[in-house]
């Protein structure tokens, strides 16, 4: 059985190792290793389209994860204060946000937004005093919102789990000692849930940064890194793409390790 487990680990890591190896390939071709070089990293980082896509992805991931962290934490706190029925309804919706396939989330968001724009844009135009009214369109906003849905559900669940294991005695002791609710929240609850909030933020960031299929539907004219990589792969894998993939893989591993570390933290640092 040990041999089998070793083989499975090899199976999991061999393809990743190949991508990393070929990103350092000196040669032009993606399949023959002819020497060590970092030239493709230089090429990748001086490709304006690629850098633009990378910047878009970073901006979208940071914004949607931040929104998700704030709204998700608020929701997790709010859910502690409602009745069983409201809670069950909310849990079902959050579960749906996670379980519904990405293609369907992408499609339904696209369809709903296009309908919304069809109503709002003429209305805005009729109100606007000049000839150039603002137009709502697919782009950053729609990707951030669509990613935010999944991410927020994720944060709500992670923070909710942490809240349910929170020591209630501390909260009661705090109010027995005449602390205001706000003080109790700031000095007892918040420090305890902070690792979960940060972990949720990091996982949401990773998810948004990696997502291809939802962005593919709602991106409009914008390009994110996965969309760029997907389009390039279809034209043929290049060492340049391997370099980008290696950077992205390394960054996601770092973020996930950071998230795990935050989740594993029991006490906040003083």
């Amino acid at each position: 059985m040990r041999a089998f487990v070793v083989a499975v680990f090899a199976f999991l890591y061999l393809p990743i190792a190949l991508v990393v190896l070929f990103s350092f390939n000196a040669g032009q071709h993606a399949s023959e290793f002819t020497g060590f070089s970092v030239q493709w990293y230089g090429k990748a980082l001086s490709n304006p389209f690629l850098v633009e896509a990378l910047k878009n992805s970073l901006f979208i991931a940071a914004t949607s994860a931040l929104l998700a962290a704030v709204c998700g934490t608020a929701a997790a706190l709010g859910l502690q204060r409602v009745g069983v029925r409201t809670r069950a309804l909310f849990d079902a919706l959050l579960g749906a946000a996670i379980v519904v396939p990405g293609v369907v989330i992408g499609i339904s968001t696209l369809v709903a937004l296009v309908q919304l724009f069809a109503v709002v844009n003429p209305f805005l135009a009729s109100l606007w005093p000049t000839d150039q009214p603002p137009r709502l369109a697919l782009g950053y906003g729609s990707i951030i919102a669509a990613h935010g849905l999944f991410s927020m559900a994720l944060v709500t669940m992670i923070v909710g789990t942490r809240l349910s294991s929170l020591d209630r005695n501390l909260v009661e002791a705090s109010s027995d000692l005449y602390a205001t609710p706000l003080t109790t929240f700031r000095s007892i609850v918040l420090p305890q849930i902070m690792p979960a909030v940060i972990a949720g933020f990091l996982l949401a960031f990773t998810f948004s940064f990696d997502d291809f299929i939802i962005a593919f539907f709602v991106a409009g004219a914008q390009t994110t890194l996965p969309i760029y990589v997907f389009a390039s792969i279809r034209r043929g894998v290049t060492p340049e793409i391997n370099a980008v993939a290696t950077i992205v893989l390394a960054a996601s591993v770092l973020l996930v390790l950071l998230a795990q570390w935050q989740l594993g933290r029991r006490k906040p640092s003083p």
């Binding site: 999991l12 393809p15 990743i16 749906a96 379980v99 293609v103 291809f212 894998v237 591993v253």
Partner: protein, 287 residues
Amino acid sequence: MRGNLVRKNLLTALLLAPATLWLVVFLVLPFIAIAIFSVGERAPEGGYQAALTFAQYANLPARATAFWNTMVLAPVGAFACLLVAYPVAYYLALRAPQRWRLILLALIVIPFWTSLLMRTYAWMYILGGRGIPALLAYVGIEDLRLINTPGAVLLGIVYGYLPLMILPIYVSLERLDRRLLEASADLGATPLFTFLGVTLRLSLPGVMTGFSLVMILLLGEYLIPTLLGGGKVFFIGNALVDLFLQSRNWPFGSAIAITLVLVSVAVLIVANRISTRLSGARRVDLI
């Protein structure tokens, strides 16, 4: 006292408002929208035109190949994942040395949180003309095509979703009361009998969780069939991308999307039923 209660409720409402707004605007309303679209007609220039017809649903057989591929490869892929995942989960939970356990588990989880796109395209190398086929040509096996076949898609599925299958099985095996294993052995059961009657039996809820999760994600899969199936192994996800982004037949696409969601819900309900029957419905957290 009453003022206090009002304030308390107001705060609760304020805390829940952003999330509620988000769920309604980006989940509930869009879903209602595609439900309405699915009984509409395609506008002449593409998109949607109001109507009340079930023609789109009647037309579902037009994409029978995509449905067939998905409905076959999703359960087969989930089962193949299970066959590979179970021994690994078993080893990690019951055999691996204590201090290695968490490290090995982390090594399983890390690939899952890295880009599926990047991990899948690595297989385009390995299975492509200059990968394994080139190696095989050395030993005289010529003209073997690996990529753009259902087998390649299946491999990609196992590769991509293996961690998601290992995790819940690991959790249920890890919670197993080891005294039961000793008791079984003390009562004279053979190791095989103990495995089948105790270990496997008690890990079935984890197996069900893993199986249904992988299966549901596979129902909506797009990247793996596109990259490793090369336009020959169509999934429902491929049909949806085609209908919404290329042929702009929104009503038909909506009908397929609604069907996909209904199938996913059915899978979840069946899985839930089975695992409730298997045990007192234990929930497995993935994160």
